[in-house]
Amino acid sequence: MTESESQLDVRWPIGLLFAVLGFVVALYGLVAPPEAALPDGVRNLDLGWGFVMLLFGLLMIWGGWNAGRRRT
């Protein structure tokens, strides 16, 4: 049995974790924006970085789904 044939593609847990964390952090940034700005004009780190994490998570999920589709 090769890794690709095993039950779990590692991209799924990575993607799901980052999608969940990214969504939660971005949502928190949206409903509770920080008062003080950070260096370089960064105003809402939660919202911005949460969104980046969410995108990364979705990219990983897409990679896992695509790999699974190619196998079947």
């Binding site: 890794e3 690709s4 590692v10 847990p13 990575i14 969940v20 928190y28 370089d40 780190l45 970085w49």
Partner: protein, 537 residues
């Protein structure tokens, strides 16, 4: 630093996911090979990221940021000189023997190449040190979280140990590797904004250079004279001690990292494992060391004081507290937690394999059915975690146990690389030569340590003494192995096929496009690391 419900929620989500990975993989663990070596079926990019993540424990995360604050860019030598060349070497030259011999562990390779006593010596010292290191890692984590967040030491030790135990018990090495990859991304995403924000506040790279002491942003400029740099090391001791002996000793022979490559799906994937790892590894200084430097540049000195003395280990926690709002703070703390857990899980999985294959199977119960060794692997996982907890409490009582452990590590890893170098590339090296060389090299390290303790030998810094001790231990092992080998009987050449250079068919990569060959990756890593050394010289 105070966490809110959102931060605790993020930590809880992370714990649920790592446990979930263990549960999902449980049904794939049918044989001992599945449990200990992931059935040798993992893709190269996964084993590659696990290869660096197993080493990216929080001691490294906090310690390298602290070194950045204390020594500046000189700390990058631990990556650009002290890791990448060794990772290229093991990928290109040593992996064909490790993987090609079908050895299931580093000590087992020593048995195949030399004899039982050399394997026994290495297996025993490795098992003891690994499980102790795991406990020290656990202790350090509990200490950090108590200082940062006021968490109870007992609760932190028990909770983290239980999480690591559950997912390694269920999913074995695969679970550890999968979680290491997950943890690698968490660490990158958890720390990256700190690097950007801290350098931005310092006024960009030029602003950072202007705020820091002269020479703080150079790696080679002040190495001509030991007293001219903060580390107190000269270029020779750095290149020979760190860049050659210690680095090659760790990256090329320590089963904790080599095990990740052994789990790869084929020879090419095994060779690519350390080479793929080398690419992100060489950029980690920008994520960890540079923020440490920036913390020193922008924060008042008073922030680093603990009981009147400067504690550089505060660099990373101070930045977390300064920049991260609730939410991102949870991600940052989870990244630290993840790095602690990946370090511990790496140690536990290496321990259960060496215990089961190289001690239990070899000396206690040979010839049992495979299911028995699978069960023993799970028992060893529980045992390893329990000993780790005990060691964590031991470290709690005796703080200098951490220093002694580091010392013992330097005793064992440095000479071991000489044994492997001669074993893999000199067919005349004999079993007795290897054994007495290894013991002699370890004794030389101990002798050097006694000489420095009694002030018979003195160095500019503790680090310079460590590098020098490694050179002594390696040289003693190298010379003794050669001398004893010349007067003792070598093994017949027919028995060394697949184990020694010159008697082993070189793996052919002719079927692969040039860009997908291990040599192309090695070339890319070598060029990039040379460029980095040049740019930050």
């Amino acid at each position: 630093m105070h966490l809110r419900w959102i931060d605790y929620f993020i930590i809880a989500v992370y714990c649920v996911f790592v446990l979930g990975v263990g549960f999902m993989l449980k049904r794939s663990m049918r044989t001992s090979l599945d449990f200990f070596l992931s059935g040798r079926r993992i893709a190269a990019w996964v084993t590659g990221l696990a290869f660096i993540s197993a080493n990216l424990g929080a001691l490294e995360l906090m310690g390298m940021a602290a070194s950045g604050a204390q020594y500046g860019m000189l700390t990058s030598h631990f990556y650009w000189v002290g890791a990448i060349p060794a990772m290229i070497f093991i990928g290109l030259f040593m992996m064909p023997f490790y993987y090609g011999s079908r050895a299931r562990s580093v000590p087992e390779y020593l048995r195949l190449r030399f004899d039982e006593k050399t394997r026994g010596f290495n297996a025993l010292t490795f098992a003891v040190m690994t499980v102790l290191a795991s406990g020290i890692n656990l202790y350090a984590m509990a200490l950090v979280f108590r200082l940062m967040l006021g968490w109870s030491i007992h609760a932190t030790i028990l909770l983290s140990a239980v999480v690591v135990l559950v997912y390694t018990f269920l999913g074995g090495l695969t679970s550890s590797i999968y979680n290491e990859v997950l943890q690698f991304f968490l660490i990158v995403f958890g720390v990256m904004p700190l690097a950007y924000l801290s350098v931005a506040e310092a006024g960009g790279w030029q602003g950072l250079v202007a705020r820091l002491p002269a020479g703080f942003t150079h790696t080679w400029e002040n190495l001509g004279n030991q007293s001219a740099n903060a580390m107190g090391v000269g270029w020779f001791s750095l290149v020979a001690g760190l860049g050659f002996v210690l680095s090659f000793g760790y990256w090329c022979t320590d089963f904790l990292v080599v095990q990740r490559a052994m789990a790869a799906r084929d020879m090419v994937a095994a060779q690519k494992t350390p080479l793929i790892a080398a690419l992100p590894k060489m950029f980690i200084p920008f994520l960890i060391i540079v923020p440490g430097m920036a913390a020193w540049a922008i924060l008042p000195r008073a922030n680093f004081l603990v009981n009147g003395t400067v504690d550089y280990n505060l660099a990373l926690p101070l930045l977390l507290a300064r920049y991260y709002p609730s939410g991102m703070l949870g991600v940052g703390i989870t990244a630290l937690l993840a790095s602690f857990m990946s370090g511990m899980a790496g140690n536990v999985t290496a321990f259960n394999t060496v215990w089961t294959y190289d001690i239990y199977h070899a000396y206690i119960r040979p010839g049992a059915p495979d299911a028995h060794y699978l069960a023993m692997g799970r028992i060893a996982t529980v045992g390893g975690v329990l000993i780790s907890i005990a060691t964590a409490y031991l470290a709690l009582q005796f703080h200098n146990i951490m220093d002694y452990l580091q010392l013992i590590f330097s005793f064992v890893n440095a000479p071991l690389f000489a044994t492997f170098l001669l074993g893999m590339f000199w067919k005349r090296a004999t079993p007795n030569g290897a054994f007495f060389g290894l013991v002699g090299g370890t004794a030389a390290a101990a002798g050097h340590w006694l000489a420095t303790q009694s002030r018979w030998m003195t160095y500019e810094s503790q680090m310079a003494a460590n590098f020098s001790r490694a050179i002594w231990a390696w040289s003693a092992c190298f010379l003794l192995t050669i001398l004893v080998s010349l007067v003792t009987q070598p093994r017949p050449e027919a028995e060394l096929a697949g184990l020694v250079y010159g008697l082993t068919e070189k793996p052919s990569h002719a079927h692969l496009p040039w860009l997908r060959r291990p040599a192309a990756l090695a070339l890319l890593a070598a060029v990039l690391v040379l460029v980095l050394n040049w740019v930050y010289r």
